[in-house]
Point group: C2
Chain length 339, copies 2
């Protein structure tokens, strides 16, 4: 937000605005619940038509639409008329192939958002309090919600990674650790008809991955290993092991234990591919990656690790060479590690 | 947040970032609770010293400090060292005369933040649900919290308004409606030694105003009328009636009823001064004023009214002339209304 005060004069605006920032999340969750963006996409652009379509009061609809306009999620070409922005048209209209409204189910789930509820105690302790460790328990339903809700955000980056590493027709064996929705592994199977993919995750979560493999028409080359990635037998001879958004939940020693298992499961010229939120060494850029460390403070010992921290874990686990790859325009980056 | 995608390509970043925006409010509340800014002001600028001073883990302190740096509330001159910004030095260090950390107590109070908890139902209904109307009940303790917590944000604007309208020594009678902390009226009494000020609010809230009048040394010219502004007898012959941040809680008809009482209480050449969040007619600027309508959606029938809406209420109540005045650099504006 801009301030009209001279550059030298401190302004309390930033304090007020930051303490009110939660309203942005709340408003978007409400708009997604009411399917507001779909209503506008259907041609309801006047306040009265939008309100009628979403079955809401005109006043509430007006306040919500104006708020979303200020957030950059709607346009307001004239008084009382609203339009979609390119972003909301692509990601928040229910019949869009890239619909991401489900993300609100996970990111604003009380189990996720609530991790930071007792923020003062969490900062003191340096992580989730012992009473909050539930999400890392076996078969926790939060990860089924994750697999169903966050898949849309991962679809495009998964395809971009497969394009880089899946090859064309050469037979490859791919292991997808903490597969979740399964999209990272499935993208390899879709791109390379000779790829065989194995997903590892809790049994209840793998049901979602199997559904997605069936939808993608690759069920015959998609198998699963249910259980803890720290305990199950991965098998061996994999050309590629995917470790998407998993290491950020654990401390370095725990990750090294997992990475030694990954190293052993890889073929001699195999690689591990790790899509992650990876802050720069200054830990304050890129903002989205660096800010993810606050979310991870809600876990017992996780973090958004820098490349040098990840590199050390991979090296300690026996990997010879690690490379940081950008995945722009997607908001994550990759570590590519040679066995 | 910046995006590295080309301008044409839609990016899901805005959806992800908006759904995570609540973490900004949570993080600042945590930093205020831990008195982090005061610790840094005392000369603790290294991570280890800050953590020791606020009695928190180094990891939690590091994540919090980096997050606040990205929000613009800290600087990070070098790795592991942090500094205050001009804004955090002025408003978030406990011994600063303009300390505003108490604002978190009100703005993130469950009674305030919780107004929007069931956002979907609130938008449908166009305001707070009947079960949530408690804050407008007589003597609700939320307004004592308001009076204690929000006073620091109002100190400077109150003094700026008094400078404009209190005169020097000419005897004036001032009525301060919904006085709360009392600072608006007290500023008139401080500036003009011949000003007599009457504060109206619930009895429990007026105790805070009386404390502040005593601290300002103006108790002998500060009197109170406890009760509902809609019901008590204001008296008459006032030169100035202040109506700070009150009209936004009610619908237009209710406000007109109040404003007729105000009109009757004013001397023939008296004026009403109304500091408010006043959006422009487009309702999407200035952002802070316009966004306030979302907060007010949590009330039964309140709103952030435009100048034309406020002008109509004042005109219907008998006022002859209304003027919109900027109060920059403070984040509110004034309506000045001639009897």
């Amino acid at each position: 937000m801009s301030s009209s005060s001279p550059a030298q004069a401190p302004s309390p605006a930033i304090v007020f605005d930051t303490l009110q920032a939660y309203q942005r999340s709340v408003a978007l969750r409400g708009a997604i619940d009411l399917d507001l963006f779909t209503a506008i996409a259907e041609g309801n652009t006047s306040l009265s038509k939008i309100a009628a379509r979403i079955k809401a009061s005109e006043k509430g609809t007006r306040v919500l639409c104006d708020f979303l306009t200020m957030l950059g999620l709607l346009s307001k070409p004239s008084s009382g008329e609203y339009g979609l922005t390119p972003d909301s048209a692509a990601f928040l209209v229910r019949h869009s192939p890239a619909y991401m409204g489900t993300m609100a189910n996970f990111l604003m789930n009380p189990q996720v958002a609530g991790l930071l509820e007792d923020i003062t105690a969490v900062i003191r302790h340096g992580g989730a309090l012992p009473s909050d460790h539930g999400a890392l328990e076996p078969e926790h339903p939060m990860w089924v919600e994750f697999a169903r809700s966050m898949a849309p955000m991962m679809q495009m980056p998964a395809e971009a990674i497969a394009k880089l590493f899946a090859g064309d027709t050469k037979p490859i064996k791919v292991l997808d650790i903490s597969a979740g929705h399964g999209l990272f592994g499935i993208a390899f199977a879709k791109r390379n008809p000779s790829a065989a993919v194995v997903g590892v995750d809790w049994g209840n979560v793998l049901e979602v991955a199997k559904e997605n493999a069936a939808k993608a028409g690759v069920s015959d080359r998609y198998s699963t290993i249910p259980g803890s990635a720290f305990e199950v037998d991965f098998g061996s001879g994999y050309d590629i092991v995917l470790i998407p958004n998993f290491l950020h939940h654990f401390d370095a020693a725990t990750n090294e234990k997992l990475l030694r298992k990954v190293h052993a499961a890889l073929a001699p010229d195999g690689i591990a591919i790790t899509p992650e939120f990876i802050p720069n060494e200054d830990r304050i850029s890129p903002e989205r990656d660096a800010m993810f460390s606050m979310q991870m403070l809600g876990t017992p010992a996780g973090d958004a690790y820098t490349f040098s921290e990840l590199e050390k874990m991979f090296r300690n686990a026996g990997f010879t060479r690690n490379e940081l790859r950008e995945l722009a325009p997607f908001p994550q980056r990759l570590v590519v590690s040679q066995k």
